[in-house]
């Protein structure tokens, strides 16, 4: 997950395309997971993921390494696309029926399924802002500084928010159902 990706402004078109494809390979799953966590709608998440990568591809030259990492830049684009989609659609669809079936190990099948169901329910009950932070931290693997860039806040503020979101998630997981 922690890959150093570079996309220099002065790259040739072929090099830029290869660089972008590397970025796509490294982050596509995380971007989709993040979009899904925000939107809770599989088709909307697919649309936002595709839109985010297309915008990133078209705006490759606007990326400035001095203003943050390429992953933070990409997730910032994905966030804007997701929020635009949220605002446009005015609905939040449940993912429950779209969730992939878990394939737990036989010996802990019941226990693992129960634990994941608990986590899923806890995530679903979180505030969207907390759910976004969990997605950026757990799925995308962004550092607090990168999250700060995505959200447009300070790094310490991002750390505090992440801490609170995780605390609420843990609390929700341990809360009696």
């Amino acid at each position: 997950m922690e890959q150093t990706l570079t996309m220099a402004v002065d790259q040739s078109p072929a090099t830029a395309a290869a660089s972008f494809e590397a970025l796509y390979r490294a982050t596509a799953d995380a971007v989709y997971a993040y979009a899904s966590s925000l939107l809770r709608d599989r088709s909307a998440a697919e649309e936002v993921t595709a839109t985010a990568f297309e915008r990133a591809f078209r705006k490759q030259r606007s990326f400035n390494p001095r203003r943050g990492t390429q992953r933070a830049w990409l997730f910032g684009i994905a966030r804007n696309a997701a929020l635009d989609e949220l605002r446009r659609r005015k609905r939040i669809a449940a993912l429950a029926e779209d969730e992939p079936a878990d394939e737990p190990a036989p010996e802990s099948e019941a226990e693992a399924a129960e634990r994941r169901a608990t986590v899923r329910a806890a995530l679903a009950g979180l505030d969207p802002r907390d759910r976004e932070l969990i997605a950026l931290k757990f799925h995308a693997g962004l550092s607090n500084a990168e999250i700060a860039k995505v959200l447009g806040i300070s790094a310490s503020n991002a750390g505090t928010r992440v801490h609170r979101a995780v605390a609420r998630l843990r609390e929700a997981c341990h809360a009696p159902s």
């Binding site: 949220l86 300070s154 310490s156 992440v162």
Partner: protein, 368 residues
């Protein structure tokens, strides 16, 4: 925009470190936190294979845009060209209108017939003054009488020598210096002349005078004085006719009282005749002799070409024109900046406000 950084609470920082350890899969991470990380990641939404395949294909093709039915025209070059043309037009207009002091203006002369016809009329009036018959205004075709005035400003490197040349040029065309004022020191200074030259040779005189220095300005005017001329001539002719009648009556007078009365009237007529003669000659001189007012000033530096002066277009003129064009261009740019800077500031402020508004609307989408 730099955001204010605050220091994290030590307890929070410690828990965040524990979270980072769990996220990194550190074996010494807190087991409960590691399990949470594992469960959340295991529950991460995954892309459907069909969507992944479609997205892979689009990335591989570089997100091709759908073909446009009408190609979009790039207006930037056209706008740039239009802006350049506009700036050039403004510059040319300003350059052309900025040297009014140095321009030579000519007032179209009144269409006049001076010369042979005028001389003929003058001869008739002149002969009248010497006792011949006065011109018959009704019989002769009406000849236009025009008073012409020319103002000429010259610059020269040697005012004294030019002043001498002005006098010589005036005399060479049959004219005379009516008044002059010359103030020079070591060839520098100024001189002014009022010259009278025969109207028929005015153009010749102006041509000669113009060669004596750089012509800074040339103005010519003409005034039709035919009415004044004819009136003076008529009064003079009537006075002469009266004199002839009185002289004939005196020759026929027989009584002393009659003779005395006629002599008194003849004396009055003589005085009137003299006055009318002076008036007529004054008007005739105005028509026959043009006035040239010449101002001669020294150049700023000896040998230095005069800005806007006549002659061929020298490299110095080119350099001055280039400087002038640069000045005008700078002026145009300054005016453009005066317009564009406030607009840019307004646009920037509007952009910032729109960005903030857009961010707020986006964040509002996350409100539960």
């Amino acid at each position: 925009m730099r955001r204010r950084e605050t220091t994290l609470d030590p307890a929070v920082a410690a828990e965040l470190e524990a979270l980072e350890a769990a996220l990194a899969g550190d074996p010494v991470a807190e087991p409960d936190l590691a399990a949470l990380v594992r469960d959340v990641r295991a529950d991460a939404p995954a892309m459907a294979p069909a969507f992944r395949a479609r997205l892979d294909a689009r990335v591989g093709r570089g997100f091709p845009k759908p073909a446009r039915t009408r190609p979009r025209r790039n207006l930037v070059p056209a706008l740039a060209v239009a802006g350049c043309v506009l700036a050039a037009l403004v510059a040319v207009a300003l350059v052309g209108g900025g040297s009014s002091n140095d321009s030579a203006s000519r007032t179209p002369a009144v269409s006049a017939q001076s010369g042979p016809e005028q001389a003929q009329g003058d001869t008739a009036a002149g002969s009248g003054s010497s006792g011949a018959a006065a011109p018959s205004l009704a019989a002769t075709p009406r000849t236009r009488r025009v008073e012409r005035t020319t103002r000429l400003a010259l610059t020269t490197t040697d005012v004294q020598r030019t002043a001498d040349d002005v006098v010589n040029a005036t005399q060479s065309v049959g004219g005379f210096v009516q008044s002059s004022q010359v103030a020079t020191t070591n060839g520098r200074g100024s001189a002014s002349f009022t010259l009278r030259v025969p109207s028929a040779r005015l153009d010749d005189a102006v041509a000669r005078l113009s060669k004596l220095g750089h012509v800074r300005s040339l103005e010519q005017s003409a005034q039709d004085i035919t009415g004044a001329y004819d009136s003076a001539a008529a009064r003079l002719a009537e006075a002469r006719a009266e004199r002839r009648g009185l002289l004939r009556a005196l020759a026929k007078a027989t009584t002393a009282q009659e003779i005395s009365s006629l002599r008194a009237r003849i004396a009055d007529n003589r005085r009137a005749l003299q006055r009318y003669q002076r008036e007529f000659e004054s008007v005739r001189n105005r028509a026959n002799f043009a006035t040239i007012e010449v101002d001669v000033t020294s150049s700023t530096r000896k040998g230095e070409p005069v800005p806007g002066g006549g002659g061929s277009w020298s490299p110095g003129d080119a350099a001055r024109d280039a400087v002038r064009v640069l000045e005008v261009s700078a002026g145009v740019a300054l005016v453009g900046l005066a317009i564009l800077v406030p607009l840019a500031l307004l646009g920037a402020a509007g952009g910032l406000a729109a960005g903030a508004w857009r961010r707020r609307r986006r964040e509002a989408a996350l409100q539960t």
